[in-house]
Structures are given as C-alpha cells and as structure tokens.
Symmetry: C2
C-alpha cells in the first residue's frame, strides 16, 4: 500500500478537461496534488491558473514541460517555462529534451547538455529544479535524444547541482537491464517518479499507455528501487491514452486512486 | 560505397513471396545471398528449400529464427532450428530470445541464458553459430527480453565460445547512447549485421520499418562501428513493412540494391 497523499495526477491523463475543470474534479475527488501542462496553463492564463490551484487547496508536483533544446527558440521558451513553474509553485520543471535534427544523435545530446547548462542558473534563482526525463527509445526521433536513465543520470551528474535531477517514468525505463544498477547509484538525483503501464499489445508509440495494473510493468519493484534512493516525494500518475476520455470523470479519478494505492 | 556482394536479402522483407519465388527473383536480380525464415522453409519443405537455394547458386547468411526460450517447447524447437540451419548451409541461427512471462524480466533473462547454454553444444556440433539479436525496447513485452546490445554482448561473453555471437540490427540499436562503446569492445563477437531505417513517424511497433535512406538512422556511421570490430561478413537488408508488398518485385530488388550500395 502507498500513502494516498503521495498521488499526484499528471494532467495530461485528463487532457480532455480544461485546467479549471481538472482542478475542480481533483479537489472534489480528494486528489491533493497535480502536475499541469503548459498548453493548458496558457489557455487559462498563468495568474488565473495559479489562483485556481491555490484556492482549491492543491499542491503542484511539477510543471510539464520544458526542454526541446534542439528546437529554435528553446532558450527563451525554457526561461518562460521556469517562470511559469515558479508562479505555479511547481518545485520541478520536467524536461523532455528534444529529438535529433537530421538524425544526428551525438549533436543533439551535446545541444541538450549545453541547453541545460544555460538554463540552470536561471532555474536555481527561481527555486525550480530541472528534471531530466529520459523517454522510451521509441520516442527518440520525435521527442527526446535522451532515452536511457543512465544517460539522464550522467547528464545530471555533470552539473553537480541540487537544481538538476532526473524524472523516472516507469513506462519509459522499465525495459532497461541496467535499471536497478542505475537507480542504486542515483541517491539524491531523483526529482520525480511517474507511473502508468505498458499494454500488450501497445496500440500506439505515444498515446498507447495503460492504467497501472493493465500492463506488464512490475511497478512495486520499480517503486522500491526509486524509494531506496531516498526519494519520498509525489508519485505522478501519467497515462497518455485517448480512451480515458470516454470514462466518466468521477469513475476515472476513483479508479486511478484505487490502482495507485495497490503499489 | 559497399561491395555489393555483401548484400544479403533477409526474406522477411519479401514475406509476400513464397521461398521458391524469392530464390528465383533474388538470383535473377543478382542478389547472391539470402536469409530465409523458418515458416517459409516449412511451407516448401527443408530438403526442397536447400536444393532450390543450392541450384540457384545462392548463399545463405543466416536462418531466422530460433530463440523464444521463455515459451513451452523451446528446447526441442531450437534443436530443430539448428538442424534446419545446418541443412540449409546457414552459418548463423538468429535468436530472438523471447518475452517475459507475466512481466518478470529478470526471470526471462535467466531462462534465456539457460536456454542458450543448453543449445550451444548442439549448435557447435552442427557448425551453426548462435546469433543473439537484441531487439528494440519497444518489443520487450512480445518478442525479446534482450533489448540492448550491451546485454546481448554480456550474454555472449558468458559462454566464451566462438559458436555464440550477437546480431546487430541498426534498427534495434541505433538509439543507444552506449552503442559506440559497446561495439568498440565487441571484436570477434559480431555474428551478423542487419540494416533498415527508422521512419518518422513510425506507423507501427513491429512492421513500420523503412528502406535505407527513408528514415533517420546514420547507417554509414553504424556500419563503420561494426566493421571496426573486424566484421566483414554479409549485411542483411531486413525491412518489415507491409507496404513493400505493393511494389513490383523487380523494382523493389533493384531499389534495395541501389540503396544498399550507398552505405
């Protein structure tokens, strides 16, 4: 069993709701922590989003997402993301680091490292920790050249700064034969932990994720490895699957809370 | 430019053809080496398949596939696969190692190691090398618990036997930040090299592969890393994509040969 107060709903799970609706429904369902996405904050407005979250008595675990360092305009956009995180009271800005340009993975990885280095002092000033999230290798071409926990940790360690860590998402890393070794050496470096499940078969490379318990990931085992690093923060439920939009909202949130409590 | 005589057509690329048709077409197109699959050999019959290949003057680079060590009956089936490889003159039996049962990756990895250990003396007696092929991590749940080159190499090294090596498929490993380091330490361990390309977007987890040049993989770079290990054997073109069945056969083979020659 997990302390239910550790549940944070990553709001991409309910991307079919506006931010105000998600806030209201989470508060009503007793989910006290959320992780909003920037496109939804932009729709509602930053100040209004912060006010709604505060008035509902909710806590923010992270803001999704910064990164995409290989895209034009990344420097300015990431500074805005840090400011938004600070305004929302999000202790962590999740970084999806961006894909290679013309397939050049080595160049992308260098650009990403340089981008984090440039952003870090600004994030530290704002009290926002940068969480480097390695994505599943199937997302390398379109979302992130950082696709293993080992590489994300190596990148975080370069900076030796408490304002940089990694976000571990069970969906992205469960397959890795080095997972337990990498986590065993990751004390102090975990900035967040996300859960969902790997469906068999997986219908889609991006949006084919399952609710915890519907797939094959040994979530209790991965949580134990994450907690052995000393991480005792929020656990975000982040399930990207359009089928969730067809489930009545109250039912969906109750189901998520039940599945979460199982470990 | 690559020596065109190194081209081997992995016949899953033309799975819409019977084995006799594939043999005839390859011979006519000047493709002198092929890698047949067992389900097609079974349709034609083993002795007849061997005779057709021999009579057409073709060489066999590998037989696909053995493995699936986590399935019932794997021991007997893999011994049959070794016998078939020997009968066809295939120097290598490609191993797709099999998925975990109930999501238990550690148990699957142990079962796979034990299965290879059991099969190895039989393979050595028959003059067939076992080629452990790490698959892309997106295939972990349905096809192979071995999803990194590092793990495949570690597995091969355990046996310290020339009858075990690894098959490197650019599609399965290109994303790996450890690729060049792993290959730099893989001298003598490469049993085969496969090429295709990663399409953007990738339409399907299994059958969404592209012809070389249509995607983002830096194939010349990976080939250079593979060749630096000393590997100078056949390079199999293995493209799994149902769209290829719509291309006229002569055109398809000519296109493959042209793309192959570019590196």
């Amino acid at each position: 069993m997990i302390d239910p107060s550790r549940l944070s709903l990553n709001l991409i799970t309910v991307d079919h709701w506006s931010l105000p609706e998600a806030i209201e429904r989470c508060a009503a369902a007793g989910i006290g922590t959320v992780a909003p996405w920037r496109h939804k904050v932009a729709q509602t407005g930053l100040a209004e989003s912060a006010r709604l979250i505060r008035d509902a008595g909710l806590t923010v675990s992270s803001l999704c997402r910064g990164g995409f360092f290989t895209a034009a305009g990344a420097t300015d956009d990431n500074r805005r993301a840090v400011e938004e995180a600070a305004a929302l009271g999000a202790p962590v800005l999740v970084l999806v680091c961006g894909p290679p340009v013309d397939g050049d993975l080595a160049a992308a990885r260098a650009t990403i490292a340089a981008g984090i280095e440039r952003l870090l002092p600004f994030a530290a000033e704002h009290g926002v920790r940068l969480g480097i999230e390695p994505l599943h290798p199937m997302m390398v071409a379109e979302r992130s050249a950082i696709v293993t926990l080992g590489e994300a940790l190596a990148l975080a360690r370069r900076f030796d700064d408490p304002s940089v860590g990694v976000v571990v998402d069970a969906y992205h890393v469960f397959w890795d034969p080095r997972l337990s070794d990498e986590l065993a050496a990751a004390t102090g470096l975990i900035a967040g932990y996300h859960v969902s499940d790997w469906l068999v078969p997986t219908p889609d490379l991006l949006a084919g994720r399952g609710l915890m318990g519907d797939g094959i990931i040994d979530l209790p085992q991965i949580r134990a490895l994450v907690e052995a690093t000393g991480y005792d923060g929020p656990i975000e439920v982040e399930v990207i699957n359009p089928a969730l939009a067809t489930v009545p909202g109250d039912e969906l949130l109750a189901d998520i809370a039940t599945r979460f409590s199982r470990g």
